[in-house]
């Protein structure tokens, strides 16, 4: 099952190779052309059936947030820094896998028995934490890991079932988007369809920038995993998105005002075909589209996301219903895209 494979694969920003290989295996037989560029983006082309000369780019990012080993202490503890945005508070007492050999390690913390009350109420910072791989010296550590190795959370994929068909696993941001894009690439469209599996989104949409420049599309869509904070909270705030309410359409986030015509297309399609959908609360988060829409002379862009609880933490949760809805909404919208007037 592709979501399981992609979720459990390693692909911290800058080292997306393992994820790219899995995706390539899944799309190879369905696309006309593919290449990997200088940053590691996988760009696949699916020629249109000739009805339209439009060039459409659909992007999903392959990278996940993780850690990088920065220093090996003389007693063998591994110091690290986050790659991408991670709240240090979720790192305490977690398991990680380091490097291509997936060396297991744990991020431990002083036992509560030995803490004074003041200490246990203070949040730990990255500099207070270290990974323990079970060795007691730097030399021993260097037999297993090296400076610069990437570490990823050690979390198994599992389906929790229920009406929402929930699943838990790591990196649903944005392996969910990658799965959706793989599924979109199984169909042929009236126009040339460029599927861009991008790298390094988590550290500033780096892959998307060069991919968009190379493709030079007329229109772009980004498939993401987005904030789902429909959980108990102090103030009465609208959640960014709600689990199970369907794919979330972005109106505006921190780096993009979605093209109104494309939003209209998505909404009209959803209403016509009876696909449950929601709007992402405006002003939150950013995606590859924030960079893509400014490529060259500009590209009208929109974003469709699957709501993901506990984004950027080891165990994320999504609803497979929402993921299916995302694929369906995108597919139906792509078939209707050429009927839209994108001239100004």
């Amino acid at each position: 099952m592709l979501l399981r494979q992609l979720s459990e694969a390693f692909g911290v920003s800058g080292h997306e190779g393992p994820v790219r290989e899995l995706i390539l295996g899944a799309i190879q037989d369905h696309v006309d052309d593919h290449r990997v560029d200088a940053l590691g983006n996988l760009i696949a082309k699916k020629r249109g059936d000739g009805q339209s000369s439009l060039k459409v780019m659909v992007a999903a990012h392959m990278d996940e947030v993780g850690l990088m080993i920065m220093h090996i202490e003389k007693d063998g503890w591994l110091r690290f820094q986050p790659v991408g945005g991670i709240d240090p508070r979720i790192l305490v007492a977690k398991r990680v896998l380091i490097g291509d050999d997936r060396v297991p390690g744990v991020i431990g913390v002083t036992p509560v028995h030995l803490l004074d009350r003041k200490a246990s109420s203070k949040a730990l910072e990255i500099k207070d934490l270290a990974i323990d791989i079970g060795v007691s010296s730097r030399d021993e550590a260097e037999n297993h890991v090296k400076l610069g190795d990437y570490a990823s959370f050690d979390v198994a994929y599992e389906e929790l079932g229920g009406e929402l068909r929930t699943a838990k696993g790591k990196a649903f941001d944005d392996r969910a988007g990658c799965v959706a894009l793989v599924r979109l690439l199984q169909q042929r469209y009236p126009f040339d369809f460029y599927g861009a599996f991008t790298v390094q989104e988590e550290i500033g949409a780096r892959g998307a920038r060069v991919a968009a420049h190379a493709i030079a599309p007329d229109v772009a869509f980004v498939l993401e995993g987005t904030i789902c904070d429909d959980m108990p909270k102090k103030r009465d705030l609208s959640p960014t998105t709600s689990l199970g309410a369907g794919p979330a359409i972005t109106l505006m986030d921190r780096t993009l005002i979605a093209d109104r015509r494309l939003v209209r297309l998505l909404v009209d399609t959803a209403e016509e075909t009876g696909i449950a959908h929601q709007f992402k609360q405006p002003g939150r988060g950013s995606t590859d589209a924030g960079i893509i829409h400014l490529s060259r002379q500009g590209v009208p862009s929109a974003v469709v996301s699957a709501p993901i609880r506990n984004l950027h933490s080891p165990v994320s949760v999504l609803s497979l219903n929402d993921l299916d809805g995302m694929v369906q909404l995108m597919q139906e919208s792509m078939y209707r895209l050429t009927e839209r007037d994108l001239s100004r």
Partner: protein, 356 residues
Amino acid sequence: MQVKDLMQQLSEAQGVSGYEAPVRELVRHEWAAYVDETGVDALGNLIAVRRGQTDDHSPRRSIMLAGHMDEIGLLVTKLDEGFVRFSTVGGFDLRVLPGQEVTVHGRRDLSGVIGMRPPHVTDPADRDKVVPLEELFVDVGLPGSELNAQVRVGDVISLRRPFTELANELVSGKAFDNRAALVGITKCLEHLSTLRHAWDVHAVATVQEEVGLKGALTSTFGIAPDIGIALDVTHGDMLGVSEVDTVRIGEGPAIGFGPNIHPLMYARLLETAKSYEIAHQIEPIPGRSGTDAWAMQVTRAGIPTALLSIPLRYMHTTVETLSLRDLERTGRLLALFVASLDEGFAQQLGLEPPST
């Protein structure tokens, strides 16, 4: 030229971001003997080409080596009754400014000092606070009327510090960030003149790195090299700074690793250092490198990029300190890397055949 003398000359030259001309001329002069042509682009980047030797059947490949020539500095914002108020160009720790000697580039160059009230007349309550930017001033020793005739708002102020030699071939001065990199590139070009290399080398002294990597953006776009290496400085071991965040002075240039660096470029630099037994270190960088490499990597459709950094203490102060041995090693490592470049590597990187 000897590494020490070159470092001194480049360090003592003036070139605040946006006003790099004096350094540019110095670098152009130093590179002249080793390159085939030099030019200056729209933003002021110095771009020099040293052509490789390749037969007519092989594609022409190019590598860009970039080191920024600008330094952080100050700008006159107000003339205040004989004293000069200023703001900063580039990132400053304000604590390094009081008592610092400067040069105000007015109608003529004026020597000055960033003044400070002595302890006898400061309020004890203020003594443990950092003097805020608005309260700092430059004193050039001129009365108000004469000052107004010599200096005006918008004039550049550069930091002034003579070069100092310490023990163990360590040297100290201002603007080692990033003139040290230019020393490295110069030595590389000098070595290349004694080696065979197939790829064209585009050596670039970039402008305005300290205010947003601007020179790197435009020069890389213009050259459109096959691959690029940015040369910069990085934090060396210092008192009070965790080992986690630094590399070691005198143990060789640091080869960057992480998302900003192409893994095959990293591997080849590492292999070159190891096989020629050049002292080197690894610098893990989990995201933004804070150097020209960040801009180079995402120019046009993306360029395989690497980063080589010279260990430096006390960055962005006028007592920046480095090891001359690390400068020698940087020049050699770069030259040997460039000399090793072949079409096989181009294939490994998946480079498109170059357009003629």
